[in-house]
């Protein structure tokens, strides 16, 4: 019998602050429900002890400014490390799938980390993907983000990676934090349509949630043929969530899990700590273990209040049509997408809500016919408190060609040279070699 691995790490001794939604209490009632059910005595579920991720695991993904230790606490290392431990158990064949029921979350953490965005410092799923690829040689991995908020951090990290398919289903960015995740954010020129955003209107129910799963997500996965599927299992699409406006139930989440069949699910957001989390976490766990979840029905569940309006259904049908057409089209060639200068550049401002930081960032991706191409970034941040840092970073993609790899070290050397003669424009110079 293949088992479902579980790491439950409620971090009962960690909070962002006393009254913050990310506080000790968040998974207390989930603990109560899961323990009381007696489900942990079920031999199909195997509970693991969490472990710490390493600085190396984090540096594989992030440019932490000024360094990993100043952007993380022990809780972050454990939350990220838990997914890695389940990843090991999965690859070793100890488990058939796994659920990292952990906090703090991570899907708003981008490649560059100046502080906390949307309750996140480091990106648990991205760290997991890069760990599995570096350690076990996986190549193609899909991340399906079912948190109500756009997984902008994960999108950012894999935006130019053709071997990671990132799909995010979320409440439309015009009505919810972080205000991004529109259909035209569809991957860099070297990773065209490897980012799929599915913004949904407020009031979407199980029906709409499941229809995008069946009609966009599943077909896209079938085409991409990932070796692994990771689910960012945020639970704030729930009809009682205080921060969002959707109408999904524990049953809806369980059915989605059952149909998506993720290899690993990682908890993200979800702040209806009493009305949603105990039930949704339980139903996801049961669905992963192949157990009956049909009796996990929230006390607040009233079917007549959870009907999807025709308007909402119409809007969702349009999105489904949009993506079905888009995915059926022939992909344009990479060279033409990069344009005549054969370089992709983007300049933008990124706001860190939790820490009130305003980052100014410029990215460059070079066209290379043989690999995803070199990624460079320069970034500076204005902080409400603490020191402002400017950083220069270069990232060698995992499957880089020898030419690009060589060039990366050359460029890095040049920058360090400038710095050594007092001509450097930045506080930190980072090279990421995955």
């Amino acid at each position: 019998m293949k088992k479902t691995g579980l790491i439950f790490f409620p971090a009962f001794d960690w909070a962002i602050s006393e009254t913050h939604p990310e506080r000790e209490e968040r998974l207390l009632y989930t603990r109560d429900q899961i323990f009381e059910e007696g489900i942990l005595d079920n031999p199909k579920i195997l509970e693991y002890k969490p472990r710490l991720a390493t600085n190396n695991d984090i540096n594989r993904v992030h440019f932490c400014v000024p360094d990993v230790d100043s952007q993380t606490t022990s809780a972050h290392f454990i939350s990220a490390g838990s997914s890695l431990k389940l990843g090991d158990a999965l690859v070793n064949g100890e488990i058939k799938n796994g659920f990292a029921l952990v906090r703090p979350p991570g899907h708003h953490a981008m490649r560059i980390v100046h502080g906390n965005r949307g309750f996140c410092n480091i990106n648990n799923e991205a760290i997991l993907v890069e760990y599995l690829r570096a350690k076990y040689g996986f190549k193609k991995i899909a991340i399906v983000d079912t948190d109500v908020h756009h997984g902008d951090g994960t999108q950012d990290i894999f935006y130019h990676d053709p071997d990671v398919l990132f799909i995010s289903v979320h409440q439309d960015g015009r009505t919810l934090y972080p205000g991004s995740g529109f259909v035209d954010e569809a991957g860099g020129p070297g990773a065209h349509l490897k980012t799929i955003n599915i913004p949904l209107p407020p009031g979407t129910t199980d029906e709409g949630f499941l229809s995008v799963c069946r009609q966009i997500i599943k077909p896209a996965l079938a085409v991409f043929q990932p070796e692994l599927i990771i689910n960012s299992a945020g639970q704030d699409n729930h009809f009682t969530d205080p921060l969002a406006n959707m109408k999904v139930t524990a049953q809806g989440y369980a059915k989605l899990t059952e149909e998506l069949k993720p290899d690993l699910a990682v908890l993200e957001g979800g702040y209806a700590i009493e009305t949603a989390l105990p039930y949704v976490n339980l139903s996801i766990l049961l669905a992963l273990a192949g157990e009956d979840y049909s009796k996990v029905v929230e006390p607040q569940y009233k079917p007549h209040e959870l009907k999807q309006s025709p308007e909402t259904t119409r809007y969702i049908t349009q999105i489904i049509n949009y993506w079905q057409e888009k995915l059926a089209q022939d992909a344009p060639d990479k060279e033409s997408l990069f344009g005549p200068n054969r370089i992709y550049t983007r300049r933008r401002n990124i706001y860190y809500d939790t820490d009130q930081i305003s980052e100014e960032q410029q990215e460059f991706v070079e066209y290379c016919p043989d690999c995803p191409g070199l990624y460079r970034v320069i970034s500076g941040a204005k902080k409400a408190y603490g020191r402002d840092y400017r950083i220069w970073g270069i990232s060698i993609p995992l499957y880089a060609c020898p030419h690009c790899r060589h060039r990366a070290y050359e460029l890095w050397g040049e920058e360090l040279q400038k710095k050594s003669i007092g001509n450097g424009a930045y506080d930190f110079y980072c090279l990421q070699d995955k």
Binding site: F9, F12, T19, L28, E37, D41, R51
Partner: protein, 568 residues
């Protein structure tokens, strides 16, 4: 003087201890009537040492296991009030169940009222099937027992002849399945257990022994006989606890060690950390049914002194017991015979086995000493693998706090205390192989009785207090209820937990001189309940315990010569 009695499947052992010396040991074949076996053993010990000098008796029995195995117990049904969650049909309940409408949530709030018409229907159905004892189990009943009480009250009025029990009376453990099974099993055995205890009380009264009497629990603690009636399941699986404590009788007070108890067909392993036996993470099982009782974290090897040795397909093969050792007249060579051959056991001389071993070796075209070495290797390799598995499980116990994950790596034992017939030989060989410290305590044949005699009374209290709902609950059956005052901070919560602990420790007869009556704090935590950006209350969780272990380390020399099968 303390008496310890251990009723095993074959023998009933007794020991009487004065301060730190063993005075006398007794070993008799176990009778069909366990109470009678106990009476005989105590009578012998009392006769020589004076009934009036006995100040405490601790009994470890297999009674509960026997009662359940005989299947002569009461026919019991379970009324379940599950509310939302796992389908009860998928859970491993120990008896027939009927699901009733009615639910309580994790905060102890009623979310669906109990439907008494459904209860009536269910009970009629059960009565028709000859079930006349009914346990009631509602999810989160420890947080609020109101629905369980309502159903029990209704049953009492409408079906006065039906015997009932509510799951929150049996245990407060946060595991509905285990509580439900605990309640049902308690009903199954309680009548016979009452009878057993009355028998013991009567026979002791006849002998004019009037000291406190305790039963040994699965976790190595003791429970006063009066409370054993309320929590009969606690005494299940006390044998391994008795053996582990017995192994500690002559060791350093704070020893960290493995205990290896080698029987005829199996070998049990337990871990001792700083003098305290390690408990299993989740709890015990009876025939695959989870129950609300924590026993020792045990691992077993399917190998023992009588494990038979044969040649199969051209190779040495270890198989089930066919009888006792060849050198003692048994049909086949056994591990014990190999120890005799190697000069590692003095129960017989190696001449007794040389012939048979030579024959076996010859049939395989090999030398006898090669076969002997291979048998020992198989035992040692199996032992090593099982120890690794047990250590790994212990090191991988789930952690829900940062401090638990960050706390230093657990230090594995590098000492082993060996009990049982072939203990000296196999222990010495393990020591040679791994460089471990090996101890073979004296009085090994009555180690379980010694363990019972020396066991501490233990109490573990886990308080959960919710100042918004103004209710508290604990891990113990029947201990919980409304909060009289609003606890303001962790200190106040801890004081409250301590006051409950003190009250219980009188009832549980905790020895003040050994524990100082000051429990150790296992954890203390508080949760801010924030609703609409305001603190609306707090939830406190406080864990207090007096750990199990032995009261006194014994002196290896007896005051008088030991009698009845004990050896030194």
């Amino acid at each position: 003087m303390h008496i310890g009695v251990d009723v095993g499947g074959t023998y009933t052992d007794g020991v009487i201890i004065d301060h730190d010396r063993v005075i006398q040991t007794v070993k008799i074949p176990t009778k069909k009537n366990l109470a009678h076996s106990i009476e005989l053993v105590i009578a012998q010990l009392a006769a020589n040492n004076g009934a009036e000098n006995i100040d405490k008796i601790v009994i470890s029995t297999t009674l509960i296991t026997n009662l359940l195995a005989e299947k002569k117990h009461e026919s019991v049904g379970l009324l379940l009030l599950p509310g939302p969650g796992v389908n009860p049909a998928d859970l491993n309940f120990v008896c027939p169940t009927v699901v009733i409408r009615g639910a309580v949530d994790y905060r102890g709030r009623i979310i669906v009222e109990a439907d008494l018409r459904e209860v009536q229907q269910a009970v009629e159905g059960m009565l028709a099937k000859g079930i006349n004892s009914i346990a009631v189990a509602c999810k989160f009943s420890q947080r609020n027992p109101v629905l369980e009480n309502k159903v029990i009250e209704y049953l009492g009025q409408s079906y006065p002849r039906v015997i009932t029990i509510a799951s929150h009376r049996v245990s407060g453990l946060l595991n509905w399945l285990r509580r439900a099974n605990g309640a049902a099993l308690t009903l199954m055995i309680s009548e016979k257990y009452h009878f057993f205890i009355r028998q013991i009380e009567e026979s002791l009264a006849k002998m004019k022994i009037c000291c406190p009497i305790y039963v040994l629990k699965a976790d190595g603690g003791t429970l006063p006989l009066e409370l054993a009636l309320q929590y009969p399941l606690e005494s299940v699986f006390s044998g391994p606890a008795a053996s582990a404590l017995g192994a500690l009788a002559f060791a350093d007070k704070n020893i960290t060690s493995v205990v290896m108890d080698i029987g005829g067909t199996t070998t049990d392993l337990a871990i001792i950390l700083n003098g305290v036996p390690l408990l299993s993470e989740r709890g015990a099982f009876i025939d695959n049914y989870p129950i609300p009782v924590r026993g020792l974290a045990l691992t077993s090897l399917a190998l023992g002194g009588d494990t038979s040795i044969t040649a199969q397909n051209g190779r040495v093969s270890l198989g089930p017991r066919k009888g006792q050792a060849y050198c003692l007249g048994g049909p086949r060579l056994t591990i014990t015979d190999i120890l005799v051959y190697l000069g590692k056991s003095d129960i017989s001389s190696s001449e007794e086995v040389v012939g048979a071993l030579g024959e076996l070796a010859g049939s395989l075209g090999r030398k006898p000493q090669e076969i002997a070495a291979e048998v020992i290797d198989i035992f040692m390799d199996t032992l090593e693998a099982k120890l690794e598995e047990m250590f790994h499980k212990w090191e991988e116990e789930p952690a829900y706090h940062i401090w638990q994950v960050l706390s230093q790596q657990k230090k594995r034992p590098a000492a082993i205390i060996c009990l049982g017939g072939p203990a000296d030989g196999l222990g010495a060989l393990w020591g040679e192989r791994k460089g471990w410290d090996v101890q073979i305590p004296p009085y090994s044949p009555v180690a379980n009785a010694i363990g019972a005699a020396l066991a501490k009374t233990t109490l573990r209290l886990e308080l959960h207090a919710d100042t918004e709902q103004m209710r508290y609950s604990t891990n113990l059956g029947s201990v919980g209820g409304p909060l009289a005052t609003k606890l303001k901070n962790t200190d106040e919560a801890k004081q409250f937990a301590l006051s409950i602990f003190r009250e219980l420790s009188d009832k549980w007869s905790l020895e003040k001189d050994y524990t100082g009556n000051i429990p150790e704090t296992i954890y203390e935590e508080s949760f801010n309940l924030i609703r609409d950006w305001h603190t609306s209350g707090k939830i406190f969780q406080i864990g207090l315990q007096t750990p199990s272990g032995i009261q006194t380390v014994l002196h290896p020399c007896s005051k008088k010569a030991p009698e009845g099968g004990a050896k030194q």
